[in-house]
């Protein structure tokens, strides 16, 4: 299981990295979304996978999975939602204002 998830994380990071290196704003934003998915799974995995019941004490299980990374990831999901929507709207405004979503063209406009 760990190996499978590790490979999944690798794939997410790889594609996320590839996307943020491209020139289209939308792809860059999608890339950051993938990177945060990858980071969330990475946090999960470092604590060990399936090492017990979900961290709900009502289950009265002998062992629970680690609740700490889950709390961290929950925070992270919400924050990345906020950040993603912000850069999304930034991209949207940039396009409306400047008429392009190409990073290279944006850069040239800045120089003028």
């Amino acid at each position: 299981m760990e190996l499978l998830v590790a490979i999944l994380i690798g794939v997410l990071f790889m594609i996320g990295t590839y996307l943020i290196l491209t020139r289209r704003l939308l792809r860059i934003i999608l890339g950051t979304v993938l990177l945060s998915h990858g980071a969330h799974l990475l946090l999960m995995t470092t604590a060990g996978l399936k090492r017990g019941a979900p961290p709900l004490l009502g289950e009265e299980a002998a062992a629970y999975t680690d609740p700490l990374p889950q709390a961290l990831i929950l925070t992270s999901i919400v924050i990345s939602f906020g950040v993603t929507s912000f850069i999304l709207v930034l991209a949207y405004r940039t396009y409306k204002q400047l008429g392009t979503d190409d990073m290279e063209q944006l850069r040239r406009q800045e120089d003028e």
Binding site: L57, G58, S85
Partner: protein, 142 residues
């Protein structure tokens, strides 16, 4: 108004209330079962988004005259105030307390925790923020 709209609206009326009820359940369940302010807030927001999608913005404004920015502010205020409340009892910032009470309707040994108040702040903030963002963009395009 074409056929699609009619189906969408009729379905939305029913679905929205199911989602809203579910979101409230999620919010209150949070302390002991999966759920909580974040999830409850986001589900509520998605129900509202659904409403805004099927009916237009103008009529929604009449039906739901809510200022979501104010809602965000109130949510943040509640969260901070809950934290400050612990000062009254000489405890550090954001100390929580809980107890069990026999309440009518809810049954015996109902748990009341100040943490739920804090979560209410989170809930309101999340609803307010999500709706602010989506409505800001939605209004910009019309």
């Amino acid at each position: 108004m074409n056929m699609n709209d009619v189906i969408l609206r009729t379905a939305t009326k029913v679905i929205t209330f199911i989602i809203l009820t579910f979101s409230l359940y999620m919010f209150f369940a949070g302390h002991n079962n999966p759920g909580g302010g974040f999830i409850g807030g986001l589900i509520t927001a998605s129900a509202l988004v659904l409403l805004y999608l099927s009916f237009d913005l103008e009529s929604m404004k009449k039906v739901l005259p809510v200022n979501y920015i104010a809602m965000t502010a109130i949510g943040l205020l509640i969260a901070v105030a809950t934290g400050m409340g612990s000062f009254l009892f000489g405890a550090p910032f954001l100390s929580h307390a809980f107890g069990y009470y026999d309440l009518p309707l809810f049954g015996e040994k109902t748990e009341l925790a100040t943490a739920v108040l804090f979560d209410l702040g989170v809930y309101l903030t999340v609803v307010g923020i999500t709706m602010t963002i989506i409505l800001a963009i939605g209004e910009d395009q019309t």
